[in-house]
Amino acid sequence: MSVTRIQLKEVTKYFGDNLVLDQVDLSVAMHEVVCLIGASGSGKSTLLRCINRLVKADYGEIQLDGVSITDERFGKVGLHKRIGIVFQSYNLFPHLTVLDNLTLAPRRVHKKARKVAEAEALAQLERFGMGGFAKSYPEQLSGGQQQRVAFVRALMNKPDVLLLDEVTAALDPELVGEVLGIIKELKAQGMTMVIVTHEMGFARDVADRVCFLESGRILEEGDPQTMFSAPRDERTQAFLQRIVEAGRL
């Protein structure tokens, strides 16, 4: 059977008095792609951010390869070397060139020599068809190009897990395809990914497993075929019905 890469046990998170995550259990196997779907405010982004400690869970346990993410063995930067994240709004550093965006962490956190880091960055840019943009500033790029750079930046540390937080939500429809292409390519290479998305058609294509969240709980999970064609829970059915009516599936 497959090896568990990420394990969440009864993860609970409050924002003030507001219960955002309610004892969530989730395990992600190595090379598995898990899509989290659900209405806004269902807690899926928060769940994602708990995994790399951008948000600290109040209760519960999160493990990476069987070791708690709060364990000293990960140290200050070890966890972020193992888990990369790409955001909805790219969050590139606007005052730095594409190349400097990519080499900031390798140079300052992992203490690589500038030349080494830049050579790696250029090779990665080339691979993602962005070779000509090393000296550009983020605002000179299209949304799709910026998001591609954000992917490269997240991959610079060669992480084992990639978290994607609605990475296509801010893009114009004609640019969504190029980003989804990257995700498919990463899946083909065996990257373990947890994806929060509103692109249901894409989730059906790429996911090994789909989890439907509502009010901070995973209400239903299963393989995409079953989830999208024959969901058991009526709330899942209602949600998918709304998606279909909005023409998104």
Partner: protein, 294 residues
């Protein structure tokens, strides 16, 4: 048009579709171009000429002219006042450099969230409350006269030095708050991105947040620079022989105030270009925001 020349796309039924020709360019109309400027020019001449006539025809005008705009007195006072103004400029630059540096350090300390920073954060808050709440003049008097009078061993005893320190302390409190507003204005996503890459809070501040914050506050900072340029003259009250002091010395011996007008002219020569530069920077910043905001 031969069929081969026709575009292949957007054809319907083989009919030639051609866009209408561009509209004729607007003719240059000299009346439209010249008449408004002519009207403004004439009205300026009338209004300012009228004002000048009213002022110069006043009964007291010759006395005013003699007291404030006496050319001989201006020429006589000019070298000393200019020398004083050179001191103003040097103090301004040195004090400015210290303020910009101290302000940024205070703002960073104030903005870092790590718990062990708490005592330093508190110190900065107290510092800002204290120095923003006190008049600069009071601080200049207190430091410029008070500290040299203590004869502290190993400390400079010059009034100029301590007066400048007072200015630095006072202005840094304001500048710190400006930087801080710039730091707060940087989007939360930038912190998240930096943290997710493994940068420490300190590294995030230095490499990701501060450069953006400084760019955010450039217009506000330019105004501080202009204000400081004038406020350096406050040091004249503790005996620093700056432009104002030199002009006063001349006035004291001749009872003619033209020397102060000379000093005023020098200040305007320096501050007006700075103010224009500030406007320009603000304008450019606004354009940049509109571009990236869209």
């Amino acid at each position: 048009m031969k069929p081969t020349e026709m575009p292949t796309q957007g054809q319907t039924g083989g009919a030639t579709r051609r866009p209408p020709p561009p509209p004729p360019g607007r003719q240059f109309d000299w009346r439209e171009a010249v008449v408004p400027s002519l009207i403004s020019l004439v009205s300026i001449v009338i209004v300012f000429g009228g004002l000048a006539w009213v002022i110069t025809s006043a009964e007291q005008w010759p006395r005013i002219k003699l007291q404030f705009f006496n050319v001989d007195a201006m020429v006589a006072a000019f070298p000393r006042v200019l020398q004083g103004f050179w001191i103003n400029m040097r103090i301004w630059l040195i004090v400015l450099a210290c303020i910009l540096f101290l302000g940024i350090v205070l703002a960073v300390v104030r903005s870092l969230r790590a718990p062990w920073f708490a005592p330093f954060r508190l110190m900065v808050i107290l510092y800002i409350d204290l120095f923003r709440g006190l008049p600069v003049l009071l601080l200049v008097l207190l430091f410029g006269f008070g500290i040299p009078a203590l004869n502290l061993p190993g400390m400079p005893s010059s009034s100029l030095f301590w007066g400048a320190v007072a200015m630095v302390l006072s202005y840094s409190a304001y500048v710190c708050e400006i930087y801080r507003s710039g730091i707060d204005a940087v989007h939360e996503g930038q912190w998240a991105a930096a943290k997710s890459l493994g940068l420490s809070e300190w590294q995030t501040m230095i490499y990701a947040i501060l450069p953006q914050a400084v760019r955010n506050v450039l217009p506000a900072m330019m105004n501080i620079v202009v204000a400081l340029q004038k406020d350096v003259a406050l040091l004249s009250v503790i005996g620093v022989r700056d432009a104002v002091r030199e002009a006063q010395i001349y006035t004291a011996s001749t009872f003619n105030y033209s020397s102060l007008i000379v000093a005023a002219g020098l200040f305007l020569l320096a501050t007006i270009p700075m103010a224009r530069l500030a406007d320009y920077v603000t304008h450019r910043d606004r354009k940049r925001r509109l571009q990236t905001g869209g």
